[in-house]
């Protein structure tokens, strides 16, 4: 009805009206969108037609809609901008669901435009109809069905606002074909963050909370910072404020998988990653601290281990922009609902003003040094087989001067990459944390490469994960995205095999990756360069060769198939019950409730 009313008016005032598809493109332009990752289909043809007529927005054709979202995530996480996706109705939208869920779990700002069947067919099981709004409701931060071209521009602007602000996340805008073909008037972007009638995330910390936090910090004898992806999401100001606060306080710091790079790994105060495969010193510092300062981290189960035994003797400060993250898993003493950057800046100022005498931290640092002395990431590279840790360590060592973006798939290689790549800058580490999505890394790397055409972008992959979105090599070739796919081939779904070894009596049910392709030939079939190495003596040379080839490269590294990832906090255990090595694993069998956990 409304659409018809608008169409009538459009005849009277043609100058004010434009097609829905044109409105969409104009709204994207005004949102500063430079790249859209997408895949066409019937329901989005009018939008593609409009894309065809313009040059300002670049369209990157992927080979699967899941990859479109992951590529947009790689773009977003390497730039701090909103990633934009365009897919068709039905299968296009359902294929995007894994990516959307991934973005939701890792708080990545995405706007995904989905085509929909014309409004009069909605609900009729029309060809390529899916209830996209219903399906994506639980896997988006918010979603919209636009029933009238007149609303298109306003809704798209709002979608970007919601995706970008507060705790970022994916937003779907579902656009029926008659709406993109209809006529409507343009509306400019929202003028201010408080312009929205209901959605107004709080960013400024309560000064009383900051005072209380600093009072606790000044008294702490065994403090530790525990930071997460929220610091990276908050942006450069948060990263700078974090580094300043660390310099001022001299406290040790650990971070979640998602937070790596916010604080430089080459600093003395850095303890390494926390959690299931975190370092001995980080986990024991979390367990033994008397004050935990959580910043943009959400006390995820991979981090806390057994909640009942988690950091029993500490007071806890928790800074998070999402009130629902606070007191969700762990009850904290000082909640600070705020943007990490604003809160950290307030803490810096308050810390400088705080004059109370502070206890020395020498004893605490002595304790940390003792834990560090265990050298928990130690492995031995000897004999004729390449150790996976060695491959990753050498890769990072050789590549690090080029300030690389490192993406990963999911599995042991991901954890080793987190352990052995010493990031010194934010937004350089792009991995699927919350959802643990195999197949994430290659498209994410392509997205990061599109955003940074001259940068070195590497996807550290497992051979099983690499096959989950391997078709994207075609995308990389078409769009000249010179990503390096560095496959750690252990011939197993290594992480699955490790759990089977430790929890299921070494019965390796279906975790052996049989019938693997010849990755070199596969690369060549796609038009990429392919390399393979299995001799430790040739590893460095092969890595250098990979980095020197200008286009996309697949480099397969045959590694020890039996290697396991340590340290490991077995499910159901506390931080101080870490397994440090294979010998240790035999001594600490996982039993009881731990078996049922993931």
């Amino acid at each position: 009805m409304a659409a018809r009313a608008a169409a009538l008016k459009a005849e009277d005032h043609p100058e004010e009206f434009m097609s829905g598809a044109r409105l969409i493109l104009k709204a994207l332009e005004d949102q500063g969108v430079e790249v859209v990752f997408g895949y066409p289909g019937g329901a989005v043809l009018p939008i593609y037609d409009e894309l065809f007529k313009q040059n300002r927005i670049r369209h990157i054709l992927v080979r699967h809609e899941q990859a479109a979202v992951h590529a947009a995530e790689g773009y977003a996480r390497s730039t701090g901008k909103v990633g934009c996706v365009l897919v068709t109705s039905g299968p296009g939208a359902t294929n995007a669901v894994t990516g959307l869920t991934d973005a939701l779990m890792d708080s990545t700002p995405i706007v995904c435009l989905t085509g929909q069947v014309p409004t009069h067919l909605i609900g009729n099981d029309a060809f390529q109809e899916a209830d996209t709004i219903g399906i994506t409701r639980p896997c988006t931060k918010h979603n919209y069905l636009v029933r009238d071209a007149e609303q298109l521009a306003r809704v798209i602007h709002e979608a970007f606002h919601v995706a970008r602000t507060g705790r970022p996340g994916p937003v779907v805008v579902d656009i029926p074909k008659d709406v993109s073909m209809g006529q409507g008037r343009y509306a400019p972007p929202l003028q201010s963050a408080s312009a929205h009638k209901t959605y107004r995330p709080r960013t400024a910390p309560d000064p009383r909370a900051i005072r209380e936090a600093v009072a606790l910090m000044a008294r702490a004898k065994r403090p530790v910072f525990y930071t997460g992806g929220g610091v990276i999401n908050s942006g450069a100001r948060a990263v700078a404020a974090l580094r300043e606060l660390l310099a001022l306080t001299g406290f040790p710091i650990t971070s979640t998988l998602m937070g790596l790079g916010a604080y430089p790994a080459d600093q003395d105060q850095w303890l390494g990653m926390v959690g299931m495969h975190g370092t001995f010193e980080a986990n024991l510092a979390m367990h033994g601290c008397d004050l935990m300062i959580a910043v943009g981290a959400r006390f995820d189960d991979r981090v806390t281990g057994n909640l009942a035994l988690f950091s029993p003797g500490s007071r806890k400060i928790h800074i998070d922009i999402d009130p629902s993250s606070i007191n969700k898993n762990v009850v904290v003493d000082v909640p600070v609902v705020a943007d990490c950057g604003e809160a950290l800046e307030a803490l810096v100022a308050a810390w400088k003003a705080e004059t109370a005498p502070r206890p020395g931290l020498a004893a605490w640092w002595r304790q940390v040094a003792e834990w560090r002395g265990r050298d928990c990431l130690h492995y031995e590279q000897k004999g004729p087989v390449i150790k996976p840790q060695h491959a990753i360590q050498r890769l990072f060592e050789i590549a690090k001067d080029r300030d690389p973006f490192i993406c990963t798939e999911v599995g042991q290689h991901q954890m080793w990459a987190a352990q052995f790549c010493g990031f010194t800058r934010a937004n350089r580490w792009i991995t699927s944390g919350g959802l643990g999505t195999m197949g994430f890394g290659l498209p994410a790397a392509i997205g990061a490469q599109i955003a940074h055409p001259d940068a070195l972008v590497i996807d550290i992959a497992g051979e099983a994960s690499a096959l989950m979105n391997i078709q994207e090599l075609s995308t990389a070739v078409q769009h000249k995205a010179a990503v390096k796919l560095f496959i750690i081939n252990n011939q197993y779904m290594g992480m699955v095999r490790q759990w089977q070894e430790m929890l299921h009596g070494a019965r390796y049910a279906h975790s052996y990756t049989e019938a693997l392709p010849d990755f070199v030939k596969l690369a060549e079939a796609f038009g990429c360069a392919g390399l393979r190495v299995s001799d430790p003596a040739r590893l460095d040379g092969t890595i250098r060769e990979m980095l020197e080839i200008p286009g996309p490269v697949v480099c397969e590294v045959a590694v020890d198939p039996a290697e396991n990832c340590f340290p490991m906090i077995p499910s159901g255990k506390a931080h101080n019950e870490m397994i440090l090595s294979a010998q240790d694993a035999a001594a600490k069998r996982i039993t009881g409730e731990g078996l049922a956990l993931v």
Binding site: G134, R137, P138, K141, L145, V162, T198, P323, N327, V334
Partner: protein
């Protein structure tokens, strides 16, 4: 855990500052029943957002009602009766607050005294002595007869959940055949109102 307790408003948190819930309160392992009211934009799918979030996260909902309360401003009110530990109740509120079309989340149980009412239509098939007995109960509960045949009554009873439960229990031996309940509508006592300050 143990049995569900009715939370009393005197137990409301004395906030040190906004958003601060005392640790002791969050660590209280008892289960309490809370009434939460939301003011939401009356847009398509808003109920699905609320109910989907609640079921997806496994919260326990005893009653959920929704109706438009301001046509001009397109506002609806959703009343939710839920039970959980204090920590879970705080989560429920925080998660509801995160939904984009939600204007306001009010914990009526925590904020002060409130009234909560529901209406039930109760059908009793009875003849002879049971009819007189049913009518007597109806009078005691200030219910009303909204339909009557020689073999049956339909009573309308209004009250808090406990009263409605009690009435239905009394009807059971008298020939209860059907019940239809609205779920609760709730509102805080006193002059303050949340329509005034929300825009």
């Amino acid at each position: 855990m143990g049995e569900t307790r009715m939370a009393k408003f005197e137990e409301a948190p004395h906030s040190i500052y906004e958003g601060m819930v005392p640790v002791a309160r969050l660590k209280d392992g008892h289960v309490y029943r809370h009434v939460i009211s939301l003011l939401v934009d009356n847009e398509a799918g808003v109920l699905a957002r609320v109910s989907g979030m609640i079921s997806g996260r496994g919260y326990n909902i005893e009653s959920l009602t929704v109706a438009e309360i301001d046509r001009d401003r397109q506002l609806s009110r959703i009343n939710i009766a839920t039970s959980g530990t204090r920590q879970v109740i705080e989560q429920v509120k925080a998660q509801l607050g995160r939904l984009v079309p939600v204007h306001e989340v009010r914990d009526l149980t925590d904020e002060g005294p409130c009234v909560a009412r529901e209406l039930a239509l109760v059908k009793v098939a009875c003849v002879g002595e049971s009819r007189a007995e049913a009518l007597k109960c109806c009078e005691i509960f200030r219910a009303s007869v909204v339909d009557s045949t020689p073999q049956s009554f339909v009573f309308e009873v209004i009250g808090d959940t406990a009263k409605v439960d009690a009435f239905i229990d009394l009807m059971r031996p008298l020939g209860l055949v059907e019940v239809s309940r609205t779920g609760i509508a709730a509102i805080a006592r006193g002059a303050a109102g949340f329509l005034k300050d929300s825009n």
